[in-house]
Symmetry: C2
Subunit: 324 residues, 2 copies
Amino acid sequence: MSLAEFALIDRILARTTARADVVLGIGDDAALLQPRAGEQLVITTDTLNSGVHFPVETPAYDIGWKTLAVNLSDLAAMGARPAWCTLALSLPDADADWIEAFADGFFALADEHDIVLVGGDTTRGPLSLSVTALGQVAPGQALRRDRAQLGDDIWVSGTLGDAAGALRLWQQNRLKVAVATLLSDDETLRERLLRPIPRVTLGLRLRAYAHAAVDISDGLLSDLGHIAARSGVRAEVEADALPISSALREQLGREGARDCALRGGDDYELCFTVAPSQRDAIHALSASLGLPLTRIGRIVEGEGVHCADADATDGGYQHFSERR
Amino acid sequence: MSLAEFALIDRILARTTARADVVLGIGDDAALLQPRAGEQLVITTDTLNSGVHFPVETPAYDIGWKTLAVNLSDLAAMGARPAWCTLALSLPDADADWIEAFADGFFALADEHDIVLVGGDTTRGPLSLSVTALGQVAPGQALRRDRAQLGDDIWVSGTLGDAAGALRLWQQNRLKVAVATLLSDDETLRERLLRPIPRVTLGLRLRAYAHAAVDISDGLLSDLGHIAARSGVRAEVEADALPISSALREQLGREGARDCALRGGDDYELCFTVAPSQRDAIHALSASLGLPLTRIGRIVEGEGVHCADADATDGGYQHFSERR
């Protein structure tokens, strides 16, 4: 890319909104930020590579949205209020239309959550996008993976498996994804894969109730496994309790849908543990947010994730060890 | 890469040292940090792509070193004290020896500057490395590009053009760079290209003297152009005053060396402006750090960067407009 092309990209990406705590934004060697007094910083980095984390034909708007969404989801899982982010963007060439659409998706989500782009680096290379997102939280209030308590209920937000289902259909060429066309039949699952909703508000509200939380990026069994391993407990999940969308069940059937819900990644819902005494509060929170929150199991003594499933051969429990 | 391979990489990269202000490091959805009360955050992101920002045959240790160095250099140019960083690492495959050597280089420099790795993301893809580095500075003390004053002297640290010279020789196959072999003849230039020294301590000390500062990553004319443009001034440089190493002059001759010093990138020296009344202080600082600091010009009314060169045809001045 020429220097003029880099300059064009920088101009397009400079259309971020203002925050009073950005002392110096894009344009110097680094940005200067004034964090809120006494609060802790929450920082996360996630990368999306073309052909690995999204199909190569994914529309630019959706890539922009998802690039930020996966990072906001990590902030949500910590109960942090989003503040600032940087973007490392590797591009094979400078296509102004592509960059504009990418920026439209990125900033649509950024503006919604009042997170501003304060820096980054545009380089020539295979399409790859890394965001580092920062948020703030009062000391002691962050939602961690290592605080699940014996007897806690296990909850998840939204429905599970939709993104994985969409990807399967896409790979089977059964989901129509022409770049400029949204087809209403497939839209529900497609949107769940390409425009995940980071549960930022839920994460903020959960600071009052949850003992432990994680976002579901690698699949429920895998991510809940992180809570079990780091908290030194066993997580028991009722497969029949999993919230599964009618769209997923229609497309993949009961077994396929359940498999996606247990093992599929990319949902970016939150999984969290709460004392049983708070069930009414969580139901009220669900109603207040207009977001399903479903109790799917409980925390007991032991280790690993175990799933009660009528189809399993060993008395109804399947065991899943933590993935990594 | 398999999950076991990702786990291996994570283990190798988890060998970071501790800092009291890291409340929660690698292993949760995000890291938790406790910034120093009242200070501002300084944040920068830089990416290195294989074959673009370093030759594909660059040793892993040097890639690890340089990946962090280019980001520390940005913190140095702001006068910030380094604190934390994240690393987004895309790898085509998991080669444990490569990762170990990469980590050796990365952490050698990190430990030197007390900056700790608090998170990141390892993905499969073409070799690409993005670091986001954070530092801290007291309000009002950061070194910015937009504060150069009329009458200021222009200074640079170290020698200029060595990295660009090394790259030219490398491309001409005149620099011997066998992966495991350092050849003493070429070592000076090679080290300047592959293991740049971020001028962190210099940046911290310059907070007491400098009006404006920038690091030289894209070449003196280009980076000094940023100071001129953002400060609304003209920068006049004396080509004969440029600090050029004997190694560079021997390899490339007077003209080639000067061209590298003016236009070559990747030096990661600091360029800064200081009132003439502080010349003695800067000379003393140079002696105290054991680092050459050379006065190469001054800030005057006007715009752009102008270079007084005995070879130029228009009365001795060549004009260079800002690159971007």
